[in-house]
């Protein structure tokens, strides 16, 4: 396509495309993938971290999975610095809603606020779009558990199961076959980890490169559990991976 139309974000190409948005998607598809699965009992978010070096300091909290409010979690794919900005904004937006209405912000409302910002940078200012795609998982009392994905254009969609980032086509076709509506949380976890490994080059991934969060409800509260490295390894082995595992 003509290179004339890919410099300014605010210009359409003759065949109706926004090149900068597509290039942002290219950036995202080079980074570690993220998978989300929705079940009746709760949700699973899992992701692959990129470079895990011995020299990196262990962070106390997750690198790619963020809590936005007590009832909403998200996984990031793409540029981490861009994501941090939007995560901070999302956290403030959720609290502002709570200040006004004394209620949890409905998941879709939060996503709309973030997507409106993403869309802004595809239409104004001559600045590049955000190079991030998110998966949002959360619970609100009107709509139950929900899973959404967002992309640099500011579009969002609700899913039962989806993948973003590296090799998401492979993961998505796997999910299309294996996902069933009546999965339990444990079954959903197995589906999610298999889909994640599909996006990787190896069938013996290092557990330290994988982050998994389970989101479920206990009474009125949403609770989350992050799997430890040992639990991730056990999960991998139970699904037929890592049979001669090297521990990091």
């Amino acid at each position: 396509m003509s290179r004339r139309y890919d410099q300014k974000t605010t210009t359409f190409t003759p065949d109706g495309r926004l090149k900068q948005v597509e290039y942002a998607l290219e950036a995202i598809n080079k980074t570690g993938s993220a998978i989300g699965v929705l079940t009746q009992e709760g949700m699973i978010l899992c992701t692959e971290k990129q470079e895990v070096s011995h020299l990196l300091e262990q962070q106390k909290h997750s690198e790619k999975i963020y809590e936005l409010d007590k009832h909403i979690f998200s996984v990031v794919s793409g540029l981490a610095a861009d994501a941090n900005q939007l995560i901070d904004y999302a956290r403030e937006a959720a609290q502002k809603y709570r200040l006004v209405y004394q209620e949890n912000i409905p998941l879709e409302q939060l996503i709309i606020r973030i997507c409106d910002i993403k869309q802004y940078y595809t239409q104004h200012g001559g600045q590049r779009p955000y190079g991030t795609a998110f998966l949002f998982a959360g619970y609100d009392k009107d709509n139950g558990f929900q899973l959404f994905s967002t992309d640099p254009s500011g579009n969002y969609a609700g899913w039962k199961a989806t993948a973003i980032g590296q090799n998401n086509l492979a993961a998505n076709s796997f999910l299309k076959q294996e996902y069933k509506e009546d999965l339990t949380l444990d079954q959903g976890l197995n589906v999610a980890i298999k889909a994640l490994v599909k996006t990787m080059d190896t069938s013996s991934p290092q557990p330290s490169k994988i982050e998994i969060v389970l989101i479920s409800k206990a009474d009125k509260n949403v609770k989350s559990k992050t799997l430890t490295e040992a639990e991730v390894l056990a999960l991998l082995k139970a699904n037929g991976f890592n049979n001669e595992a090297q521990q990091e």
């Binding site: 106390k60 909290h61 809590e67 936005l68 409010d69 901070d88 956290r91 403030e92 609290q95 502002k96 709570r98 200040l99 004394q102």
Partner: protein, 213 residues
Amino acid sequence: MSGIFEYNGGSIVGMKGKNCIALACDRRFGQQMQTITMNFQKVFKMQDNILLALGGLATDIQTFHALMEYKLNLYNLKENRKMKPSTFANLVASSLYERRFSPFFVSPIVAGLEEGKPVLATYDSIGCTSDLDNFQVGGTASDQQNINFILPSIYGACESFFKPDLSPEELEEVLAQALVSGCDRDAASGWGGLVYVMTEKNITIKFLKTKQT
């Protein structure tokens, strides 16, 4: 009772003990001489080891509490840790000063336990912090604002009954006596009381009967 701080009535008091701390409040919510409800919440649990009591104008009590929840939640999410009571005490002071020229009409008391040691702080409505005393009061049955009257005050009862290093049970009894004697003499406070006693293990809540007038 003129004055914006006396409009809704209400009194609060906090006291330090040995590795424990207690806050007490009355339950009245009124509009000048009329009592509207007898179950108005003035003490809020911000965290397992932080209590925030607010006296003063009822609408500002609710709004200021919501604002503190907002700031505390964002702190937890961004810094990925709980807030220390002394940090929260500073947050209250700076949040009050943010409204230096259009203040919240509240008299806050922050009570917490930090590494086993009690933390107690009280403020004026624009954030002047006072955290050196062993007990603090706020509201209409204290000695503030009522310059035209010499009212028996909770302060007097506290001074009489306070001893250093009280146990949780003794602290509860002392604070209950202080609150009840102050509120019974104050037309704008009363209609029941609550004492919150915080120890390392838990927070107990005791309901007090005051004169029902």
